[in-house]
């Protein structure tokens, strides 16, 4: 497990940096993760936990984006392959994948990603609308983007991800 608290660095917009711990002001914390080279984020409030996904039971005849079922401390959780869902080439061999435990509509899901990144604290006002030429499929699943110094962080809409038609059996 590799969540490290990301302290605001100079390359990030400085907003409320002096706020006492726990009071985020207008800042939002995001759990970031990578699919290939692209950085994505989800609001930390929506993330229950991050864990290594091993032993996924494949469900025959399930949609391709449905990786299968896994046992998360005695609960059966549906694992979703974010690569497939976001139509990123599945070059990953599927082993040693990390999972982000989330809940949507009172059901638990595990989003399979390649790599978990830092938790980033970013100002709510810094969220920019999706670039207009962003892939339509991504656009529908994205809240907006943050321009970080070296890369672009795409903030995903969790409920839209779960509601994707690619998951409709």
């Amino acid at each position: 497990m590799s969540i490290t608290r990301h302290t605001p660095s100079p390359d990030q917009p400085q907003h409320g940096g002096q706020a006492p711990a726990g009071d985020l002001g207008d800042e939002i914390e995001f759990v970031t993760f990578k699919l290939g080279e692209q950085l994505f984020g989800l609001p930390i409030q929506r993330v229950h936990e991050v864990f290594a996904a091993n032993q996924i039971t494949r469900v025959p005849m399930a949609p391709a984006a449905m990786s299968g079922l896994l046992n998360l401390r005695g609960r059966v959780v549906t694992a979703i392959c974010l690569r497939t869902l976001l139509r990123i080439d599945a070059d990953h061999d599927g082993s040693d994948r990390m999972a982000i435990g989330v809940e949507s509509d009172r059901e638990q899901f595990a989003l399979l990603v390649d790599k978990i990144g830092d938790v980033m604290r970013l100002p709510a006002s810094g969220l920019e609308p999706n670039p207009i030429h962003l892939d339509a499929a991504w656009g529908a699943l994205s809240e907006g983007v943050y321009r970080l110094e070296k890369t672009i962080l795409i903030i995903l809409k969790l409920d839209s991800l779960i509601a994707s038609e690619l998951l409709a059996a």
Binding site: Q55, T57, R58, V59, P60, M61, A62, P63, M66, G68, L69, L70, N71, G74, V76, T78, D105, E107, L167, A168, A169
Partner: protein
């Protein structure tokens, strides 16, 4: 609830001392299995409920009128504590008294189908009883494997396990692409779990067959290995996977792995042909009430593509098995020498390809000098059943479907096949009726099945069937005075109103010479007497096709003579 007991139930140490109780209060929690539910009790040795105060409070909060409260038992009054916003605590304390106590408890327990009740003894204590149903179903399951993956099959549907290996006593045989297992003189349809789960396309031939029974249907599931049995907790499928009918849920095995629980009903559906009794019942119900119920002897056979088809046995001349090598082909038509004549062969449907060799099952139909063979995949059964026919979307060659022997079966329409054998069977081979002679025959019959069965026969006799489901419709047609070739009525069923129609025909001068034929499935002397009394010339058994055609032919001849 424990907090509640501590705050409301248990007295202060001083009070307890005064009452002669031990200074330390006691709250006991018990949990027990009670017939399918879990019973939890929270028992304190406090002061019990202050009924007078609850009554006052209930009155103050307008939960009941004074008169109502007067009639209530103490137990009924005690239940006010479950009322939203009800608290008898004098002050809001850190432990309770915020008025969101017991009602929240009750709401939550109700939500999961449980019960909560309260009992007390003044000065001695209070007992809260909570009953929670065991919503988690625990079933015994057989854990099987296919390749790397394991599945759970509910034990309840498993009849036996058979080890299969090519060349051994039990081997899977392939018949026309379908796997079967010969088990104690029965043929068991077998489905490969690997194929079903799309993990493999190869047709496996060794492993274990889990003989599964759903209702009256048995089938075998071919699996790679049988591991063990295990008591499993059925967890519901994710909402995203509910559409997969092959699985009824999932579970976590002792070793922590998640396995899918196979739904035998889903498997049975996937195999096809095997229909659930439940579905059949629904179909039967959907059929409606008014239909006459007729017990009939029905021949069930498989047409091409595994579809089950049926035809009343009374229409069948013989069942034969011929050697396909004996079939002669002339310009795409199959003919076989049968009893010294050339008999055309018509496949039951397009999916049935008549082979060039090997045995071929045939249902022979004959009409006078003409005989045809209906090539079928196999003869399945002869059933004596009440047939409820459902006239669905019209497919060529199918009258409708019915549930026979617990399986959805299509009733074939012979009038579709006969012209394929002899293009002129239904039309030209009889002398064309003289000009001016009517070709309409009025059939009064309440049962849609009989109507559907007789209509082709009437057509076969060169007449146009006009259908009247009841006497009213028949009388309306008769009253028009338009000439008819024949009137065919059901003389048995009161509902058919056959005799009424006959009487009505007698009253119309245009129909003075009308040929009238009575139909009965099992002519009782009384019925015959009544029929003759009504002036019916013939009473024919409903399924006696020959007599009916002969009688109808007679009607036409008579008409032609008259003309």
């Amino acid at each position: 609830m424990v907090r509640n007991s501590a705050d409301h139930g248990i007295e202060t140490p001083q009070e307890r001392k005064l009452l002669g109780k031990p200074e330390t209060g006691r709250i006991r929690l018990t949990a027990a299995h009670e017939g399918g539910s879990i019973a939890i009790r929270i028992i304190d040795d406090g002061k019990g409920l202050d009924i007078a105060r609850i009554r006052r409070k209930a009155l103050a909060q307008n939960l009941a009128s004074a008169a109502e409260l007067e009639r209530m038992t103490e137990a009924q009054i005690a239940r006010f504590v479950f009322h939203p916003g009800f608290s008898t605590a004098e002050a809001v304390t850190s432990v309770s008294g915020r008025g969101v106590g017991m009602d929240v408890v009750k709401t939550n327990i109700d939500a999961i189908g449980g019960m909560v009740d309260i009992a007390f003894e003044p000065g001695k204590g209070t007992t809260f009883s909570v009953k929670i149903p065991l919503t988690l179903a625990i079933i015994s399951a057989l854990i099987v494997s296919v390749g790397e993956q394991r599945f759970a099959i509910p034990q309840a549907v498993v009849r036996e396990l058979v080890r299969v290996r090519p060349g051994s006593e039990h081997a899977v045989e392939i018949i026309n692409g379908a796997s079967v297992l010969r088990l104690r003189e029965r043929l068991l349809p077998v489905v490969g779990l690997a194929n079903m789960m799309q993990t493999s396309d190869a047709v496996a031939d060794s492993g274990f067959i889990v003989v599964t029974q759903i209702g009256k249907q048995q089938f075998g599931i071919l699996v790679g290995g049988v591991l063990h049995t295990e008591e499993i907790v059925v967890k519901p499928m994710s909402s995203k996977l509910k559409a997969l009918t092959l699985f009824s849920g999932n579970t976590i095995l002792g070793d922590g792995a998640v396995v899918l629980i196979l739904d035998p009903n889903g498997l049975a559906h996937a195999i096809g042909n095997l229909d659930l009794d439940e579905a059949n019942d629904e179909a039967a119900q959907a059929q409606g009430v008014g239909d006459a119920q007729e017990r009939q002897t029905i021949l069930v056979f498989k047409g091409g593509g595994g579809s089950l088809k049926a035809v009343p046995l009374s229409l069948v001349t013989r069942l034969e098995e011929i050697d396909a090598a004996a079939i002669e082909w002339t310009s795409g038509r199959a003919l076989v020498q049968y009893r010294g004549k050339l008999m055309p062969i018509v496949p039951a449907n397009d999916q049935l390809v008549i082979g060039r060799e090997g045995p071929l099952a045939m249902v022979i139909f004959s009409d006078g000098p003409r005989t045809m063979g209906l090539a079928v995949e196999s003869i399945v059964d002869i059933l004596d059943e009440t047939v409820k026919i459902e006239l669905g979307a019209r497919e060529p060659g199918v009258i409708g479907s019915a549930v026979l022997g617990g399986r959805a079966t299509e009733m074939i329409d012979l009038s579709h096949y006969l012209p394929q054998a002899y293009p002129d069977w239904l039309t030209g081979h009889r002398e064309a009726p003289a000009a001016g002679a009517t070709r309409e025959a009025l059939l009064v019959e309440s049962s849609p099945f009989i109507r559907e069965m007789l209509a082709p026969i009437i057509r076969a006799a060169g007449l146009v069937p006009i259908i009247a489901p009841d006497a009213e419709a028949a009388i309306a047609r008769l009253a028009t005075g338009r000439p008819l070739a024949a009137l065919i009525v059901d003389v048995e069923a009161e509902a058919s109103g056959g005799l009424k129609a006959v009487a009505a025909a007698r009253g119309v001068p245009e129909h003075a010479a009308l040929m009238m034929i009575g139909l009965a499935s099992a002519p009782h002397p009384d019925v015959l007497l009544a029929a003759h009394g009504a002036g019916l010339r013939d009473v024919i058994a409903k399924f006696d096709r020959h007599s009916l055609i002969a009688a109808l032919k007679g009607a036409q001849d008579a008409q032609q003579e008259a003309a």
